[in-house]
C-alpha cells in the first residue's frame, strides 16, 4: 500500500483540498492552490516492540497558497480582511485533520498497519514565506501533519 496515495485519497475528503487544485510535491503556485509535500521520515524515531512490530511516524506538510493584500485593518461592522479570511480558511484544514483524529478516521495504510494517532504539530498555520515573484503576491501557509502508526509487517505471529 502506497502511503502517499493513501494520504492523497484521505485528504480529498477535506473540502479545502477537494475543492481546490492540489499538487503533490511540485506546484504551479496560485491563489488557493494546495501542495502536499513529503518529508523523509527518520527511522531513528521508530520504536521496536518484542513481537516484531514497529511504531513509525509518517510526516508530511500541506502548503496552502493564499494571495495577500496590504490593506490596513478597518474597525467597521461587516468588514472582512482578506488576509484574515484566508488564514481562517487554512485553519479549517487543521481543524479538519484534528477532527478526523477524534473520529479515528484515518488514511488506509493497508492491513499491515494500524494508525494510532494523527495530528497537526501546531494549532495554527505558520507562514512559511511570501512569494512576491508572482502576481498577486502569495503567502505560503504551512501545516505539518504527523501520523503515528504500527507496522506489523515484520511480525512473526498473527
Amino acid at each position: 500500500m502506497d502511503k502517499n496515495q493513501a494520504i492523497i485519497d484521505f485528504l480529498f475528503q477535506c473540502p479545502q483540498l477537494r475543492d481546490n487544485p492540489t499538487f503533490f510535491n511540485f506546484i504551479n503556485a496560485k491563489d488557493n492552490n494546495k501542495q502536499i509535500v513529503t518529508t523523509s521520515n527518520d527511522k531513528i524515531l521508530d520504536t521496536s516492540f518484542i513481537d516484531g512490530s514497529v511504531e513509525k511516524q509518517f510526516t508530511f506538510t500541506i502548503i496552502d497558497f493564499k494571495s495577500i493584500e496590504y490593506n490596513a485593518l478597518v474597525n467597521q461592522a461587516g468588514y472582512e480582511d482578506e488576509n484574515m479570511v484566508d488564514f481562517l480558511d487554512t485553519q479549517a484544514i487543521i481543524d479538519w485533520i484534528n477532527e478526523q483524529d477524534n473520529l479515528r478516521n484515518y488514511p488506509n495504510f493497508g492491513s499491515d498497519c494500524i494508525i494510532d494517532e494523527m495530528k497537526t504539530t501546531n494549532d495554527n498555520p505558520s507562514i512559511a514565506g511570501v512569494d512576491s515573484s508572482v502576481q498577486p503576491t502569495l503567502a505560503k501557509y504551512s501545516i505539518n501533519i504527523q501520523i503515528k502508526y504500527i507496522d506489523n509487517s515484520k511480525k512473526l505471529w498473527y
Binding site: 516492540f49 513481537d51 516484531g52 515484520k154 505471529w157
Partner: protein, 182 residues
Amino acid sequence: MAISQFNLQAGQYAQRKELITVAEWTEGTGSEATQVREILGTRTESSSIEYNNDTSTTTDIRGINYTDLNKTQPQQTFDPFLVLGGSKLGAKLNDLRRRNALNEFNQFTIYVITKYVGSAGAYEAECHTGCSIFITSLGGDTKVNMPIEVHLSNDYKGSGAPGLGTVDKIASDFVFTPEVQG
C-alpha cells in the same frame, strides 16, 4: 537427548521476536469449552524472563565456593500491556480484575517458544501449566495501560517440570508436541 543447536549462522544474533511467550486459557465450559491463545508483548519494547534464582553458597576451608541452585521462580513482566482492541487476554484479565476473581488468575498455560532453536515445523518450546497472570496496575497517561506479571509454574501437567517439546509453526493454531523421554 542431544542438545539442539541454534539455527543461526555463526555470530548471528537471535532477534527478540524469535523468543515468544504465549498465554493459553479455556473459555466456556463443558462441550462449549475452547482453548484461546494470545502472544504476549504487543506494544512492549522490552521484556525478559526473570528466573529469580534461589541459591545458596558455602565456602570450604580452602576458600573455594560451592553454589547450589535450589529453585527458580521464573517470572516475566509486560509493561506496557496496553488495553488494545482485539486483545482477548486483555479482556479476560479485565473481567477477572473487575470481579476480583482471585482464584482464576492462576489458570493459564504458558508456552515459551524459541524460534531460534529447532527447524521449520519443529521449533523448540516449553509448556508450563497452571501459571498465573496478574495485573499490577491500571491507568497511565494518554493510553490505558494494564501491566501484567506472568509467573511460570515450572510444571507440565503435574510432572514437576516444564513440558519440553516443539511447536509446528509460529501461529496461534500451533500444535505442541511433547518430547519423548528416554
